[in-house]
């Protein structure tokens, strides 16, 4: 255990401290007390850069549940450091921003507790080396995200969004756990860095595709890939700092992290390569296509996030492709670097854009693109930041988005040209999808800026006339925008410190070749494509009004949300129908189930099991036994067909006394005595109750019900007879009664063996039977004396 283990838990511990000190904090915003935590952690993680840069890794182990192979091992290499820096860095900015965004009237301590809990969870996900610990933190991110989305829990939409994201991400998480367990069982360990060297063993396992599908389900649901992206637009009901932090920069990249982390293990499998790259591409195209039609600013950004995540995902798929085939270092090199670089870029510009939306919302009280417009002169700084970051998102030089977008398109061309891409002539599909997606990305990015800040201000539409936001809120997006420009102009600052170690970590080998990102490297296909994208995008945006109504043709019945809602309704409906169909509320129905099951099980056992059907050795049947049996049979039949209750009570006691007679003839005097006494008392009790009971209502029962009961009763009777005969005829060992016969006087000092067994040898049973009797007596007393009426309580009546 090292300081790193504690560092992960610092946010959650700090949350507890802040909560307990809350009552002493009145004047200052709680956010100021929270802010030092992510800043400190960011600086702490920065100190690892020199280690990582030198090609070393930091590994610290801690036994937690070692027996179950669940160890709290932490591992810092380039990839996890990149994510840790993103989490703490963006986390600091988001906390700073939230101080301005959230007013003191909100339940601030709750907000920061959830946020810090999320920070711990996310750090745990990216730093854990153990798959089971990773899963633990993974679900913790789902839970804290659930809490943050439903922060304004008096709004129905928030609860709906939280519920939806919870269901989808936890579904994926549990699937992922299944995949982890399969992998762990094959490799014999859950530590990722012990699994990677065993990839040949994993490769030779034929059913590994199940694990791949399960793990990818986890990654795709978390990272909002097609068709699981539907939770993310609804998660926009969260406060904007949460959207900026969780749903653009960190949590949604957990799936990306997982795919990148497991690439060395699974890249051999075509299923992994093609599902990651194609799901990513489809997500890119579908989400960027849908982003254009959104009216809500956050809706645009949500779909944009989904599409950018799809873009990163597809690059990871091609990185795996290159890693596997290894025909040409260039593909997976560029794909890997592109994925990592775009990951950073996306975090910067998308975090900033979300914060801008928050400012606009804060100043105008609306996020609708139809109402907004003409904010440029009123909010110049906000406009500037928004323009820079949105252009970066669109992939315009000289911002960082351009660089990674170039790499992306470049990779797509390389994949098309790759000799064994498994598609032969269909390889052209890669760049085509990429270009279509990029065109739509360009359109919505431009639309975002121009519709919000350009044009004229409609003072009637906007709830509040805006003015420039306070500096407290502008600081964070400004820092991110500066980073956008800085990384665009000097991308090689990142290349040696972060990107190269991350690439080496992801490919799990150290590549000597240095990454060099340059703004312009000659006229090539990618550059031409980018220019084409800009031209087509501009034209399409110019004529946006004339074709935007095409989206209305898209019927609601074909959206995934429609199917999700229908699925939820349908499953609860089916569950309710099923439950209602068999839980009738009538005891007799449940008795029919129980008895049918009993006889059915007996029949099944008799048929399926190979049983020796040997009948018992019968004793001599005497005339007395036949007589008593006849009496019992006659009186039992009488009980069944009796029309009056009194008659059936008397017939019942007739059976009881006949049983006592049986005990007499089978030489059981104690039983006979007890049976006689008990039978008398129960008959007396029946007669007492009889006075108050209504008449038997047999004639009301339906004939069908009677027949069903008859069949069940007969089958139960026959099965009990069968069990009795078979068990009597197949005794496997002798009785232990000889011991009692021998020792009843010697040890128990008695001659009545029954009684000695009852009070001495097996006195324990008697002890509790008497307790049962006592409870019965008390129970009857309470039932009779303490009668609670429907309305209220009535105390025990005393006379």
């Amino acid at each position: 255990m090292t300081f790193l283990h504690i560092a992960i838990f610092i946010p959650i511990i700090w949350a507890i401290i802040v909560k307990s000190l809350e009552r002493f904090i009145h004047r200052l915003h709680i956010g100021w007390y929270v802010l030092p935590v992510p800043v400190f952690l960011f600086i702490y993680f920065l100190t690892y850069i020199p280690i990582i840069k030198g090609g070393d890794v930091h590994y610290s182990a801690m036994h937690l549940m070692h027996h179950f192979m669940m160890d709290f091992n932490l591992y810092i290499d380039g990839l996890s450091l990149l994510f840790a820096l993103l989490i703490t860095g963006i986390g600091s900015l988001v906390v700073l921003y939230s101080i301005g965004y959230l007013s003191q009237k909100e339940q601030l301590s709750h907000f920061y507790i959830y946020l810090l809990m999320f920070m711990t969870a996310m750090l745990g996900v990216v730093l854990s080396d153990n798959l089971l610990m990773l899963y633990l933190f993974w679900e913790l991110t789902s839970i804290s995200s659930f809490l943050l989305i439903s922060f304004w829990n008096n709004r129905a939409r928030s609860l709906y969004g939280a519920h939806k994201s919870m269901i989808i991400t936890v579904f994926g998480g549990v699937m992922m756990l299944g995949g982890f367990i399969i992998i762990g069982n094959i490799a014999g360990t859950f530590n990722i860095h012990e699994i990677i060297p065993q990839f040949e063993l994993i490769q030779s396992t034929p059913s590994i595709w199940i694990a791949i599908i399960l793990i990818l389900l986890g990654a795709f649901t978390k990272s909002a890939q097609f068709p699981f992206y539907i939770w993310l637009p609804d998660a926009m009901e969260a406060p904007t700092p949460v959207s900026a932090y969780l749903h653009s920069a960190t949590m949604v990249k957990a799936g990306i992290y997982l795919v990148a982390r497991l690439t060395p293990i699974f890249s051999f499998h075509d299923l992994w390569i093609y599902s990651v790259s194609f799901v990513g591409l489809i997500t890119l195209v579908w989400a960027s296509f849908n982003a254009v039609k959104q009216d809500d600013l956050k809706g645009v950004l949500a779909f944009s996030t989904v599409s950018q995540l799809g873009m990163i995902m597809s690059m990871l798929g091609l990185a795996a492709f290159g890693y596997n085939h290894g025909y040409n270092d260039a593909v997976f090199q560029v794909a890997t670097v592109g994925a990592i670089f775009h990951l950073i870029n996306h975090a910067t510009f998308k975090g900033s854009l979300f914060m801008i939306v928050g400012i606009v919302d804060h100043e105008t009280h609306t996020r609708s693109l139809k109402k907004l417009g003409g904010l440029m002169t009123l909010m110049p700084i906000t406009t500037g930041i928004a323009t820079v970051t949105a252009l970066s998102m669109a992939g315009v030089p000289p911002f960082n988005g351009f660089l990674s977008k170039e790499m992306f398109i470049n990779v797509m061309y390389m994949a098309m040209d790759a000799p064994n891409n498994g598609f032969n002539n269909f390889g052209i599909i890669f760049p085509i999808l990429a270009i279509i997606g990029s065109i739509f990305t360009f359109i919505y990015s431009i639309m975002f800026v121009i519709k919000t800040f350009g044009g004229k201000l409609n003072k009637d539409d906007i709830p509040q006339v805006p003015h420039e936001a306070p500096w407290l809120m502008l600081t964070s997006p400004l820092i991110l925008a500066v980073l956008v420009v800085f990384f665009g102009l000097f991308p090689n600052v990142l290349s040696e410190t972060i990107i190269e170690p991350a690439r080496n970590a992801m490919l799990h080998q150290s590549i000597e070749e240095h990454v060099h990102i340059s703004m312009f490297h000659g006229v090539n296909k990618a550059l031409i494509s980018t220019i084409v994208i800009f031209i087509i995008g501009s034209i399409l945006f110019y004529f946006l009004k004339s074709w935007i109504h095409l989206y209305d043709k898209h019927p609601e019945k074909l959206t995934l949300n429609y199917y999700y809602d229908r699925l939820l309704d349908f499953s609860s409906l089916i569950a309710r129908k099923i439950t209602q169909s068999y839980m009738t509320g009538f005891t007799r129905t449940y008795l029919v189930y129980l008895f049918s099951f009993l006889s059915g099980l007996t029949l099944f056992a008799l048929v399926m099991k190979d049983i020796q059907y040997s009948l018992p050795k019968l004793g001599q049947i005497t005339i007395v036994e036949i007589t008593i049996t006849l009496i019992i049979v006659i009186s039992t039949t009488m009980i069944i067909i009796a029309k009056s209750r009194l008659f059936s009570i008397i017939m019942l006691s007739c059976v009881g006394y006949s049983m006592a007679l049986f005990f007499v003839f089978f030489r059981a005097p104690d039983l006979a005595l007890t049976q006689l006494a008990i039978e008398t008392i129960t008959t007396a009790l029946f007669l007492i109750c009889f006075y108050h009971l209504p008449k038997l209502s047999r004639h009301e029962e339906q004939r069908r019900f009677k027949i069903g009961n008859f069949i069940v009763a007969i089958s139960v009777g026959l099965s009990v007879i069968a069990i009795g005969l078979l068990s009597l005829g197949n005794k496997t060992f002798d009785s232990i009664s000889q011991y009692y016969i021998d020792n009843v006087y010697k040890l128990g000092a008695g001659e009545n063996m029954v009684n000695v067994i009852l009070v001495d040898f097996r006195g324990f049973d008697t002890l509790f039977e008497t307790v049962v009797l006592a409870i019965t007596g008390i129970g009857i007393y309470i039932l009779v004396k303490l009668r609670l009426s429907k309305g209220g309580r009535r105390n025990e009546k005393t006379r």
Partner: protein, 142 residues
């Protein structure tokens, strides 16, 4: 159901039979270890004798004649039944281990004393009180 006041024969016979049944129940109880009987049947018989009083007279008479709260008697019985098994632990033996010894009493001769009888006494008291609690509760209820 109203009681008839002139049940002279029943009441007179009850006075005689009550003690016979009571004696019989004691006999069943004490002879339990050697002959058929024991705490359970003995308890039922005692209860039957008391019920006979209820039938011949009424509840009030029984309460005057036997001024025992059967709910308290139930507790006494439970103490005997549950407490007895623990006694053997006080002497360092196993839970629920019985002791017995034989002594010579001048009149009765060689007699066995057995701790199992104390346990049986608990059973006896529980059976008596539970039976009477049930009968009295239901009988008094309207």
């Amino acid at each position: 159901m109203r009681k008839q006041d002139n049940d002279v024969i029943l009441r007179s016979m009850t006075l005689v039979i009550f003690f016979i049944i009571l004696t019989f129940s004691f006999a069943l109880f004490f002879g339990g270890h050697y002959t058929p009987g024991g705490g359970f049947v003995g308890g039922l018989m005692t209860a039957a004798a008391l019920i006979l009083i209820i039938i011949a007279y009424d509840m009030k008479t029984l309460k005057e004649a036997v001024s025992i709260d059967f709910k308290k008697l139930l507790n006494v019985g439970l103490i005997f039944a549950i407490g007895m098994p623990f006694v053997s632990m006080l002497f360092g033996k196993n839970f629920f281990q019985h002791f017995h010894t034989y002594i010579d009493i001048p009149v009765f001769g060689k007699t066995s004393l057995h701790t199992a009888v104390l346990f049986d006494l608990g059973v006896y008291l529980i059976v008596v009180s539970v039976t009477l609690i049930i009968i009295l509760t239901i009988g008094e209820n309207e």
